[in-house]
């Protein structure tokens, strides 16, 4: 396998796959505070606190790596003596014996391969697949190198302006171009409502998971019910009443209470034997056998489904579900804006060019004395590149389309 040789890949195979980097301490041994090891992982080395080298430290669990040493390169033990980190450089506070084998093990789900395999965490897994993304920092630096300077359309621009437009671009792309990768697996509690995720911007899809693990799409309750934003308590004349602070008194929502107790079969038209005379029925002027079994008149296809409904309760910041979903497992897929966490601020390489086009258009269109034809040129370029990015990220593969089309001769039975 190739080693990092000046290409874009910076990690060795061992660093990427095993999350480990090895060193041997200097011979003869260096003095106190002189032995250093530089981690070159994609992920910065991080200690929970300055004393978090110590397993008894409160923030020890926040470290994203463990340091192991060995005298023979066979038996490793965690190094629990003082050391410090500055800019990925580990400085051993004391002295290390000469020719000691040292391993930096990033935390992994399997605990790594050294010592007692207790480097448990997800740092290694978070880095997997990272090559398909580029960081916002790199995008901004690349933009400055490629598009800003003497003799270019943008001779000078403040980094803060680029940062603003890049982040706004990432937000906009997150809404409709980038892949939606955020989701939460939740169980619907008896209250029939779950809290909106912290980095939620909009939902993509909510599905209930059946016993086979198959997704059943839960539909929005659009015209069926609503969670009112305000529920003022009224007096006999219908006037809202106020408390000691002159603010309206709020009660519990009766709409929600009724929705929670609703038998959804009465809405969907689902057959329940107890609801119908399924043995005797009145038919053709006389009582007889047959019943209403299998008959449903005036069915509304939009609501004729048994997967359940959800609606947004903006008053409480929750997503409310219909009663048939109680205790059911659901998966909430949603989009964020790509800026909520540092690890989110990454751009798929397939959309990198579109982001450059967005930044350059945003800068030129807000700058004075730029001819309109130039602005229009970059507007078109942005639009074309964004379309390209969307197509690329749609992940359209010929083989997959072929597989779907193989069912083209089947009847659509509805």
């Amino acid at each position: 396998m190739a080693r990092p040789d000046g290409g874009l890949i910076q990690e060795t195979n061992e660093q990427y796959y095993a999350g480990a980097q090895g060193f041997v301490s200097a011979t003869p041994a260096l003095g106190a505070g002189q032995q250093t090891f530089t981690g070159t992982f994609n992920t910065d080395l991080s200690l929970g606190g300055v004393n978090s080298w110590n397993p008894t430290d409160t923030n020890y669990a926040l470290n994203n790596f463990k340091l192991y040493t060995s005298a023979d390169d066979v038996t490793y033990a965690e190094y629990i003596l003082p050391y410090a980190i500055n800019d990925n450089v580990i400085t051993i506070t004391g002295t290390l014996p000469a020719a000691t084998y040292v391993i930096i093990q990033m935390k992994a789900l399997d605990g790594g391969s050294f010592g007692n395999r207790t480097a448990l965490g997800q740092t290694v897994e978070d880095n997997y697949g990272g090559y398909s993304y580029t960081s916002l920092v790199d995008v901004i630096n690349n933009f400055i190198v490629g598009y800003v300077g003497d003799g270019k359309l943008i001779p000078h621009v403040k980094r803060s302006d680029i940062m603003f437009h890049a982040k706004r671009g990432l937000q906009e792309f997150s809404y409709d171009t980038l892949k939606s990768i955020k989701s939460q697996e939740l169980t619907i509690p008896p209250s029939l409502a779950v809290i909106i995720p912290q980095d939620y911007v909009n939902y993509v899809r909510i599905s209930s998971i059946d016993i086979l693990g198959v997704k059943r799409i839960v539909y929005p309750a659009n015209n069926l019910t609503i969670s009112p934003f305000s529920t003022p308590i009224q007096d006999q004349q219908g006037q809202p009443t106020q408390d000691n602070f002159s603010e309206n008194l709020e009660g519990t929502s009766q709409t929600e209470a009724r929705w929670r107790q609703a038998d959804d079969a009465l809405i969907t038209g689902e057959f329940r034997s107890g609801n119908f005379a399924n043995f005797f029925d009145y038919y053709d002027g006389s009582w007889g056998l047959g019943g209403y079994y299998g008959r449903r008149y005036g069915m509304e296809p939009q609501i004729a489904q048994i997967n359940g409904w959800f609606n947004m309760n903006e008053r409480e910041g929750r997503i409310a579900f219909s009663s048939n979903l109680k205790d059911r497992l659901i998966v909430l897929e949603y989009i964020s804006d790509g800026l909520a966490y540092e690890e989110d601020t990454k751009i798929p390489k397939l959309a990198e060019e579109a982001l450059y086009a967005h930044i350059i258009y945003s800068i030129l269109s807000t700058r004075i004395n730029v001819q309109e034809y130039i602005v229009q040129r970059f507007k078109k370029e942005r639009s074309a590149k964004l379309r390209n990015a969307k197509i690329r990220l749609s992940n359209i593969k010929l083989d997959e389309i072929t597989q779907v089309m193989r069912g083209k001769s089947k009847w659509i039975k509805h």
Binding site: K158, R159, S160, M163, F164
Partner: protein
């Protein structure tokens, strides 16, 4: 490649003494030479600005922007506390120690002329902003400074250290002076043609003299400009006229 002060002085004297027009003492020469060096140095910035806005060629030696940048090269410096111990102190705001207080003597940064860039950990360039801009930036969640995109203010020194400029870096978690690097233009040296006195009372060049730091390509400009001032000193309009015509011609050539 610097310009030798002895060569310049002797050339100036040679031209001046033609037809016994006058004489320039070493002290007069030193002052005028320092003035001329500063004048030429200061003209680079506007010249560069002017040339950058013009189309350039790709030749090896006739690209004016490249030539001007080469002229600035002897004055461009990049330092930190390792290369110049004590140059930067404080824990954000940082101080560039132009003077050492309370003694008020020249400090490690005494040659600071123009601040170029502030680097954090040798890799990221901080953006230089005004106080009102930074207030606005800090209000916007999208433009918050980070260690990847730090910003800084360049302001007057504190009351106790008035001549040491203050650098306030954001985010304020950047607080180690050792993490800060500064690129700047150094002030040109004062020119000194030092001498010993010979047995006949004549002045003999001393090797402790301070040469011009300007590029060797500037030698003719330096001599002409010194001659211009020398013409004023010795009250000879012919010298002034010849020198100024020559300088004008040169400038016309180099900027048209």
């Amino acid at each position: 490649m610097a310009i030798n002060v002895d060569t310049v002085y002797k050339t100036v004297l040679l031209i001046l003494n033609q037809q016994q027009r006058g004489y320039m003492t070493p002290d007069e020469f030193n002052r005028v030479a320092t003035q001329v060096q500063l004048e030429i140095f200061e003209s680079y910035f506007d010249d560069l600005n002017q040339q950058i806005r013009r189309p350039q060629n790709d030749t090896e030696y006739a690209n004016r922007v490249k030539n001007l940048e080469e002229n600035l090269q002897p004055f461009e410096k990049y330092i930190n506390n390792t290369t110049s111990p004590g140059a930067i102190t404080g824990t954000n705001p940082f101080f560039l120690n132009v003077r050492t207080y309370p003694a008020d003597t020249p400090g490690p940064f005494s040659d600071l002329y123009k601040l170029g860039s502030i680097m954090y950990r040798n890799k990221t360039i901080g953006a230089f902003l005004q106080r009102n801009e930074i207030t606005q930036l800090l209000l916007s969640p999208l433009t918050q400074p980070t260690t990847n995109f730090p910003i800084y203010l360049y302001e007057a020194g504190a009351t106790a250290t008035p001549l040491n400029p203050t650098i306030s870096v954001f985010p304020t978690t950047i607080n180690l002076p050792g993490d800060i690097n500064v690129s700047y233009l150094a002030k040109p040296n004062d020119i000194q043609w030092n001498y010993d006195t010979g047995e006949f009372g004549q002045f003999l060049y001393n090797a402790t003299s301070v040469n011009f730091q300007l590029s060797a390509t500037e030698q003719t400009s330096v001599i002409l400009k010194i001659l211009l001032y020398a013409g004023v000193i010795v009250s000879d309009p012919t010298i002034i006229q010849v020198a100024s015509t020559q300088i004008q011609q040169e400038e016309q050539n180099s900027k048209s």
